[in-house]
């Protein structure tokens, strides 16, 4: 028996179980026009998963995604376990993120250890769409991955799921050369986190740090004194054209009625900083050493 057939059998059983009232009699297949007109039912989609035809399987996956109930997860998991070609596997993982059902977390957890980094990266993206307490830990584990893309995606995803308890880990990741962590810290961190990020000015490229500060400055839950400190520290530590442009952009984004001290300080700084001011090259902070990636697909830092 071919594996596809095995898979088909198991999927058929799943479909049968999911379709009450459908007995052993083969239902009449609707005509092509009718098929095009209406979306596939769960049972039909599961049956198409058995077809062995990549296009039909893709259609079935799309149909299951549209259905989006908990019942579509087992057939999709079965499909993953059957051993898919690269593109199809990544497509299914993406769909699991769109479906965003907690029932797929176990499978996504396993896929966090898939040997292809692109699969792990998409898994992180998918997890970020699911609301479940298990998600944060799984995404945090992505920060420990040997692949830079997975680490970056994980840092972003933690911000997406608003994982404030992960700020400390993001700080660690930032220190370990995960630049995307800075923006996430800006999105999630508190005043202390902002101060720690400010300490990195001069040691890390501003291009890495400024998105984090922007997120701090854009947040309503960050008080004006904290924002003022950010602006002042930025200006004092790196009075450069890059900071000037950063502040200009931020000020422009503020509503006209904003009369905060941080805005006032930013406007002063904008006037004070000369356009030709440049920053010295950043001094890396130890430990900046990245361990060599060992995995088959690890890209390292």
């Amino acid at each position: 028996m071919r594996p596809r057939t095995l898979l088909a059998a198991s999927l058929a059983l799943s479909a049968a179980a999911l379709t009450p009232g459908v007995g052993g009699a083969q239902p009449r297949r609707p005509g092509p026009a009718a098929q095009a007109a209406r979306p596939l039912t769960l049972r039909e989609a599961v049956q198409r998963l058995q077809s062995g035809n990549a296009d039909e399987i893709s259609d079935a996956v799309d149909a299951l995604t549209r259905i989006g109930t908990a019942e579509v997860i087992p057939p999709l998991v079965e499909l993953i376990h059957s051993g898919l070609p690269d593109d199809l596997l990544e497509r299914v993982v993406t769909k699991l993120g769109i479906i965003a059902r907690p029932e797929s977390i176990d499978e996504l957890s396993a896929l966090m250890h898939h040997r292809r980094s692109s699969v792990r990266q998409r898994t992180v993206e998918a997890l970020a769409h699911i609301r479940d307490p298990r998600v944060r830990g799984l995404i945090e584990s992505g920060l420990r991955d040997s692949d830079a893309g997975v680490r970056s995606e994980s840092a972003r995803a933690l911000a997406t799921i608003n994982a404030r308890p992960s700020v400390e880990l993001l700080m660690r990741a930032f220190e370990r050369n995960v630049p995307e962590a800075a923006e996430s810290i800006g999105a999630l961190g508190d005043a202390a986190a902002a101060d720690r990020l400010l300490e990195a000015v001069g040691h890390h490229p501003l291009g890495v740090l400024l998105p984090g500060f922007r997120r701090f400055l854009d947040r309503r839950d960050i008080t004006d004194p904290v924002k003022l400190r950010i602006v002042e520290q930025l200006v004092s530590r790196s009075p450069t054209r890059q900071v000037k442009e950063f502040l200009q952009e931020w000020v422009r984004s503020l509503p006209a009625r904003d009369r905060s001290r941080s805005r006032a300080r930013a406007e002063i700084a904008i006037r004070q900083i000369r356009d030709d001011a440049t920053a010295p090259p950043p001094t890396p902070t130890p430990p900046a050493e990245a361990p060599p990636a060992q995995g088959a697909n690890g890209g390292g830092a």
Binding site: R2, G83, R120
Partner: protein
């Protein structure tokens, strides 16, 4: 008389004018070596010697001083002062010889006063290198050679000079290499061509004895208070048993430490010319002090041999090579001296350190503050320094410390120490090796040695299992454990408890793809069938994934399919076959699965073929045995019973012929018949075995005879042998009655007898026609012996041959003289004959021949 006187005078004149005889008998190829009596004489002369103190009277160090002011200096080590220094371009290691110091300067070897450095004389040796010198009494013997460092020309010279003036006493030019000598008991011991030790009388240079090894290389010799020692890698002590010329037959101590990088000998190589400078050869060396002890045995002080390798120092048990201690000194060891009071290491900066032979504790004895080159030391009486510091930890920790040494000059030695470490039985050694392997500072070459050492471990599995808990972590800067080393080692250890940890690494994407086959193999070997479901799921997940495309990348998956094939059940095999048929599956994987089934099928066929072949062989052997029995049954000559069996079947026909003859000649008493048989047996039918090769006719190549062809041959042979017959070639009858002949020939010529080996055989029969006894009539039960059951004699035609037991049957009673006048039915039995037996007495002959 006058002429005699004149001759004597002339001879005296000639002799008087000749220079003194310088060349004496030695190094002859005709000299008898390994002579036990001569060696015993040598030993008697050497006797027990006391160590002779040097002329300074205390521990001294002589060295070539390196630097701008090159020279030779002698130091009083006990008082830490320089006794003298003399500028000279010394080119050898100095030799401290009593009150003299000998050192080579270019092509001249200087003899200096040890106390003052004043020159006493010199020996020039252009074209030859100074190999070394030794002294006994007031004679110094020196060896010079060319070709010590290799090269085609190999020549040597041994010179004996006066210790006080360096004036020559005798010399030998030797065709071959001679090495650094030893001297004791008025004898010089000269290593010769790395095979022999020539023992010369110091007084005249005459060779007194010679030791030659037949199974070893003799590279050095030295004299000690406890005797003469010589050897190569091991240590021999000169005893009468040295005459055996073998390791096993001599007093010998093997060096238990083998494989040291640089391959140092256990003692200074006598055939290596020194340079006067510091060399790696000085820094990589063994040292030991003979302990004398029981005659016929070699023992060393403290049962310890020391090994210096740059700044590392090891003490090992001389018996088994077990490390007693290991330490690292602050400086490289340029010279290592073992005395009765301890071990001393000398550095190139002139620091003399004592090392406790028992613990390895090191203490500074003296700082001579001089840039020392080649060093010679006489430290007898030197006391160890105070405040000695022993190496930290136990021996295991000491060895680990040496492996950790960051000095990359010592990588080969650190690898060697790793091997020593791995031989230890403590389970913790496994952990040590694992820790060392994971050290980032460890060079790749050393890492390989550590990995190899780890694989030899059979204890400490718990440390390896524990190491499996670690996984790669970018944030924590943590590496995965060395799975390619751990997994095979755990497999070899049979550590089933490692299966969960190994599986966790199998499923971890951070595990290097190169380690996957090792992990899969270990998991499969340890977990057997229990891990098949996990392996199957793993293969299923990646069966179409590009992560495992390619020969190398797919190795892990292939190993997993191997394991599933081996440990799985029928369903697993069916699943494998399904994978093999699926076009979406990794091609390498499909190929591997196909190979698994094909190999199994081929092996099964081979096994079946082997069984068939075995059965065919058994059948062939049985047929051959039957053929052999058939061949053995063919007699050399046909026995009487075989002839009778054929003959007696035609008695009626013979009777008719006889009756006819009697009718024609009533006075006929007997008919004599001589039959010559000819056997047509082909010799080839007696071949015991089938031909090795078959075919080859018509220009076709022959081939090895197959079992089937052999069987056919056996069958053919058997059938042909069974069909073989012996036929009648000649017949002779007496009387020569033509009708009788015709009648008899009609019967006899047609007879067919069994086959026999002899080509020609003759038998005779006599038909007695004189008896007139009437036949008793038919219907009686005859025994065939000429007498019926009732004891009545039988008519002749009913009687066959004599019994088998009677080789020459006794003559039957002669019939009466009365002859019937009318033909009567012959009633006397036919008396068969046996072939003539040469050498039988007339009385034993058949009656018809008497």
């Amino acid at each position: 008389m006058k002429r005699s006187l004149l001759s004597a005078a002339a001879l005296a004149l000639v002799v008087g004018c000749m220079p003194p005889i310088r060349v004496t008998t030695a190094f002859s190829s005709r000299f008898g070596d390994n002579n036990r009596a001569r060696i015993a004489e040598v030993l008697q002369r050497v006797g027990d010697r006391r160590p002779s103190p040097n002329a300074v009277g205390g521990p001294i160090l002589a060295a070539v001083i390196q630097g701008d002011e090159r020279g030779v200096a002698v130091f009083d080590v006990a008082n830490r002062r320089e006794l003298w220094r003399r500028a000279m371009a010394a080119s050898s290691t100095p030799e401290i010889l009593g009150d003299a110091l000998v050192v080579e300067v270019g092509t001249s070897t200087q003899v200096l006063d040890l106390r003052t450095g004043a020159p006493r004389g010199h020996v020039d040796h252009p074209g030859l290198d100074f190999a070394g010198a030794a002294r006994d009494g007031d004679t110094i013997v020196m060896s010079f050679a060319t070709g010590l460092g290799g090269g085609q020309r190999r020549a040597g010279r041994v010179v004996a000079v006066s210790a006080s003036s360096a004036s020559e006493r005798w010399t030998h030019e030797v065709n071959g290499l001679v090495g650094r000598p030893a001297a004791a008991g008025g004898l010089a011991f000269i290593p010769w061509d790395r095979q022999s030790i020539a023992v010369l009388d110091l007084s005249n240079g005459v060779e007194k004895s010679r030791i030659r090894s037949t199974d070893d290389v003799l590279s050095w010799v030295f004299a000690d208070a406890s005797g003469i020692y010589y050897g190569g890698r091991g240590i021999y002590r000169l005893t009468p048993d040295s005459a055996s010329g073998t390791r096993a037959g001599s007093a010998y101590l093997a060096n238990p430490v083998e494989g040291v990088p640089g391959d140092p000998l256990v003692y200074r190589d006598a055939f290596f010319a020194t340079t006067g400078t510091r060399t790696a050869r000085d820094r990589i060396r063994f040292a030991f002090a003979p302990a004398g002890g029981e005659a016929g045995h070699v023992s060393v002080a403290n049962d310890t041999i020391y090994l210096a390798y740059y700044h590392d120092l090891l003490a090992v048990n001389a018996a088994d090579g077990a490390v007693r201690w290991a330490t690292k000194l602050e400086e490289d060891v340029e010279d290592l001296e073992v005395t009765r009071s301890g071990l001393f290491a000398i550095s190139g900066t002139g620091k003399v350190r004592s090392v406790d032979p028992a613990t390895g504790a090191v203490a500074l004895v003296a700082e001579l503050n001089a840039p020392l080159g080649a060093i010679a030391a006489d430290f007898e009486g030197l006391q160890p320094g105070a405040d000695a510091a022993a190496p930290e930890g136990d021996v295991r920790a000491q060895l680990v410390a040496l492996v950790r040494d960051p000095d990359n000059r010592l990588v080969p030695f650190r690898s060697f120490v790793t091997t020593l470490l791995s031989r230890r039985e403590e389970p913790e050694v496994t952990r040590d090796l694992l820790d060392l392997y994971t050290q980032r500072s460890i060079p790749a070459q050393l890492k390989q040695s550590i990995a190899a050492a780890l694989r030899t471990r059979r204890s400490g599995a718990q440390f390896l299992v524990s190491a499996l808990d670690d996984h790669y972590d970018y944030l924590e800067n943590r590496q995965a454990p060395p799975l390619q080393v751990i997994a095979p080692t755990l497999q070899a250890m049979g550590a089933r408890e490692a299966v969960p940890g190994l599986l966790s690494h199998l499923l971890d994407h951070e595990t290097p793809v190169a380690s996957l086959p090792d992990i899969v193999n270990a998991v499969a070997a340890l977990g057997e069938a229990s891990v098949v479901p996990t392996l199957r799921r793993w293969v299923q997940l990646y069966r179409s994934d590009s992560a495992f495309r390619g020969e190398d990348a797919s190795a892990g998956l292939r190993a997993a399919t191997d394991a599933i094939f081996r440990y799985g059940d029928a369903a697993d095999r069916e699943w494998l076959q399904a994978q093999q048929r699926d076009d979406d599956v990794n091609p390498q994987l499909r190929e591997n699965i196909a190979g698994l089934f094909n190999r199994e099928s081929a092996e099964a066929q081979a096994r079946a073929s082997a069984v068939t072949a075995s059965e065919a062989q058994a059948t062939l052997e049985a047929a051959l045995n039957r053929l052999h029995e058939q061949q053995q049954a063919v007699p050399n000559a046909l026995p009487d019973e075989a002839i009778d069996e054929v003959w007696n079947a035609h008695l009626d026909e013979f009777r008719e012929c006889a009756q006819g003859a009697v009718t024609r000649n009533p006075s006929l008493n007997q008919i004599r018949v001589v039959v010559t048989l000819r056997s047509g047996l082909q010799r080839s039918l007696l071949d015991p075995t089938p031909p090795a090769r078959t075919g080859g006719g018509d220009g076709q190549p022959s081939h090895a005879t197959t079992p089937a062809e052999a069987m056919e041959w056996v069958t053919r042979q058997s059938e042909a042998l069974a069909a073989q017959r012996t036929s009648v070639r000649l017949t002779t009858y007496a009387p020569g009655d033509r009708e009788l002949r015709a009648c008899m020939d009609n019967v006899v010529r047609a007879l067919q007898f069994p086959a026999s080996r002899e080509m020609r055989q003759e038998f005779r029969r006599v038909i007695d026609t004189r008896a007139a006894r009437a036949a008793a009539g038919g219907g009686e039960n005859f025994s065939g012996l000429g007498v019926n059951a009732q004891g009545r004699e039988l008519p002749w035609w009913l009687v066959s041959a004599p019994t088998l037991e009677v080789e020459n049957p006794p003559a039957p009673t002669r019939p009466g003289v009365t002859r019937p006048t009318t033909p009567t039915t012959p009633t006397t039995p036919t008396t068969p004959t046996t072939p003539t037996q040469p050498g039988t007495t007339p009385g034993q002959r058949p009656w018809w021949e008497e």
